[in-house]
Symmetry: C2
Subunit: 338 residues, 2 copies
Amino acid sequence: MNKKKATIKDIANELNISSAAVSKALHDDSRISKKTKDAVKRVAKALNYQPNHLASALRKGKSNLVGVIVPRTNSNFFSSVIEQMEDVLNKAGYNIIITQSNESFKKECKNIDTLLFTQVDGIIASMANETVDLSYFEKIKSKGIPLILFDRGENDLNVDYIGINDYDSSHMIVEHLISKGCKRIAHIGGYRRTRIFNNRIRGYIDAINKNNLPLDKNLVIESALTLEDGRREMGNLLKLNNKPDAVYVAGDYAALGALQVLDENNINVPNQIRLVGFGNEPFTSLVSPTITSVNQHSKAIGRLTAETFLKRVANPEVKQSLNKIILDAELIVRDSSE
Amino acid sequence: MNKKKATIKDIANELNISSAAVSKALHDDSRISKKTKDAVKRVAKALNYQPNHLASALRKGKSNLVGVIVPRTNSNFFSSVIEQMEDVLNKAGYNIIITQSNESFKKECKNIDTLLFTQVDGIIASMANETVDLSYFEKIKSKGIPLILFDRGENDLNVDYIGINDYDSSHMIVEHLISKGCKRIAHIGGYRRTRIFNNRIRGYIDAINKNNLPLDKNLVIESALTLEDGRREMGNLLKLNNKPDAVYVAGDYAALGALQVLDENNINVPNQIRLVGFGNEPFTSLVSPTITSVNQHSKAIGRLTAETFLKRVANPEVKQSLNKIILDAELIVRDSSE
DNA sequence: TTTGTTTGCTTAAACGTTTAAGCAAATCAT
DNA sequence: ATGATTTGCTTAAACGTTTAAGCAAACAAA
């Protein structure tokens, strides 16, 4: 068995030429004859030569690795985004290292350190819910390593961002509910400190005002949008004297929790209360009634994010700056708001 | 701004000592004086020194990267396994590169090549449904790189394996259904070529025989276990003259599909037909009725797999061999079989 | 005092690749 | 036939780290 790996030097010795010639032959350098190239490739195959990525990365100062940080892979949105990014980046010769922050700021910082330590050529991230302190992301920028954000971004970082139009999505949802005759629309949202959730809240408020509906503070709620949060907040809404006739929940898991509570209280959805979620998780079309939700175009976001990264490394001289790509989201109307 | 990264040499120059001394100081070598160590650490911090992982990996012949191949991250089981592995491996100084095969043999081969190219110190994998040709996995072994399999393994590879007892799980399920009075239990299984699904089928058949129930070939079905497969096969079962009074589906998504079809045909679950899934995906407790399923102990599998890897790299002289760790799964009884 | 041991560093090579610089031979232009 | 250009390679250094080997100084033991 051939335990010791073959190197360029082994090929060179076999053919009595220099390692430099071998390296160039393997890269199809124009200054190497066809004859030599063929011989090199033949011997390389015979010795089962595999290039040592570490050595070339060290020499070239480029690892061809891209670090990815997501809140969690265990959501349809993020896993789909990652799949697309992987596809685009692999074709360009990059491999990706996926890390999860689990929505924790501390874990996110650890992930950033890990990725920098691994000498990644760039970092693509979607920020944890908890994150408000941007110093760790500034650290990436200060090292001159490309940083691209998607979905959960932050204007202040002044880097490329790819996401959907959360503000407009709220308008779409509110107007859809109004068209169904709803007059008291509640919003169970995320925390305002996260930009996308703030945008959804702003969009909701502006849409309510624009359509001349009264804005009731009791109907606007912030939470972490877990299933449990959805249950709790829906329960609270049902305790109001003046109950809503529709609830727009800024996350599908929380929407599902709300649906469970409505069901347990024998409230008919959509007839008594209409419900809209956000994210278009697969289960929204599996539960009964199926839940109206917003498709965030995960595939497009994945591809665009990867392509944005590639553009950045192709033009390193261009200074990083706030460059937003905002996609229009799509409302998928299902039984819960029909 | 400090664009060029500080190296060991920079620290050495600053203090007028050799790079070797700096390297040793940073690793707390006993042959370096406390005074020098303190000085080195002070300057390192001042220059914002970050070790170049590529250089040390090249020199040491060890990348401290572990490659992970899973069918997809977008399932609760796999993402939970990965989270635990990451925790254990990070603490031991390893980082992980996650790749997805999307159940495709071709993609899996590409992933293996990618990981080998990246010089990972080991590969942890759960095989794609499609995979029958093991030559690519043999390639990993032949390079002397540790290979650990979990969940979807293959005895013939003769490597460490961590998984649950699929055979016994089928017994548990069948006996649970019998205890509820079921006499005609169908099985919508995976493809026999995948070891775990074969074990579930064998377990099902043996349990049926052991309990003196007639074994009806029409009630044993192989499929890819997607939601659509579940719908189609459940539909076929309902066309039988002699319908089953219980269905054991070897995957939760397919079980959900089956449930949808039962619901659409106004068949009461569990009263007319009892239903059991496999995998304990979160939605099993979210749909109505909630679905009885099998908890695969993803956390334990993740930790054990990572620890098995660490044991292997700690004892490289020990030859790889079939070393199985089999956990007992847990039946979570819910409304669909109550 | 002599010898041996420990301490604290240095020197130099190595890991496997890439690449700038250079040089001889072959080919071309005139 | 001469000089210019192209072709096809070699030499040697570099990337940043680790580590075996070695050496001088300090200390300890006799």
